[in-house]
Amino acid sequence: MNTTKKLPPVSEISVVILALVVAGGVFLAAHLPKHTSLTFTTLTVVIAALLVLVNLVLLTRLTGFAWKTFFLVAKWTLLAYSIFAAALEYIFIKDGVRGSVLALMSATIVIFAVNLPIHFGFTVARYADN
């Protein structure tokens, strides 16, 4: 069992990514539809994207991990939150969000939808039997 095994801080990083995308998304949504500075949201998206990459690297270095459980949870979470993300994307496009704001919103949504499967899969698999 993996309960006592030291694992990299994938879950903690995932929560930080989640906080970043939510903060960036709320900041941008709070200023719609008027034009506002995109610096803050761009910064949160870039940092969140880098942290997703860090998490992926940390995952590739894991040995003796319950990958079967990880992928089982991750694939269904990806499916569920892809539907969620698609609904959000549809709403923003329907509301006339365009250009760089839409690009940032889309990037935020994609990071959100990619991060959660990693987070859920890792959290469940860390307690699973190999």
Binding site: L18, V22, A29, F84
Partner: protein, 193 residues
């Protein structure tokens, strides 16, 4: 090692109650139609019904059910969790997306998202509260929920793991319950401005 109780439990339960998926699909289709047609009543329906249920369930779970579960024995928690947690896996995300999508479109329809509108400050406050709740729910509550269910599926579930994850689930449910009080204040302010 008070929690280190390993108990044989029947594992004949589904982590995702597949029989309820058609109901979820109906809600999603209805929501998409409401957004696409931009009808005020339909948007209001999804926002109010979804939000009312979400808020009510969070408060009830955080302040009524949570403390009761906290005082149960590990085997009793396991038995309760097997019946309760799978329902939450489908119910809560559905209520959340209905509330948020309906609410966003409603705010847009009514002009509340315009910074010149008198409701704008309260709408932004609600976004911040929902954002914090999203981080708590998706970052801690939902993974703990799934973790408990997968542990219960094992031949010999580890009581220590279940106790740890259930504690996390109950604390975060209490926290989101407390934040729902803020949501109630904000929403009643928006409705009466």
């Amino acid at each position: 090692m008070a929690h280190d109780v390993v108990t044989e439990q029947p594992k004949d339960f589904k982590i995702i109650p597949t029989s309820a998926i058609p109901l979820v699909a109906v809600v999603y289709i209805g929501l998409i139609i409401a957004v696409a047609t931009n009808r005020l009543w339909a948007l209001d329906f999804f926002h109010v019904v979804g939000g009312g249920l979400w808020t009510g369930i969070d408060l009830f779970l955080g302040f009524v059910i949570g403390p009761i579960i906290g005082k149960m024995s590990i085997p009793a928690r396991m038995e309760f969790s097997k019946k309760f947690m799978p329902k939450m896996v489908l119910l809560m995300p559905t209520l959340v997306i209905a509330t948020l999508a309906g609410g966003w479109q409603l705010a847009r329809h009514e002009g509340f998202i315009l910074s010149s509108d008198k409701h704008h400050g309260w709408v932004v406050a609600s976004m911040i509260v929902v954002g914090i709740m999203a981080v708590v729910a998706l970052g801690f509550l939902e993974p703990a929920n799934l973790g408990v269910l997968f542990e219960l599926k094992k031949e010999r579930p580890n009581g220590e793991v279940i106790g740890k994850l259930m504690k996390r689930f109950l604390y975060t449910a209490g926290l989101t319950g407390a934040m729902q009080v803020a949501t109630l204040i904000i929403m009643t302010r928006i409705a009466t401005l």
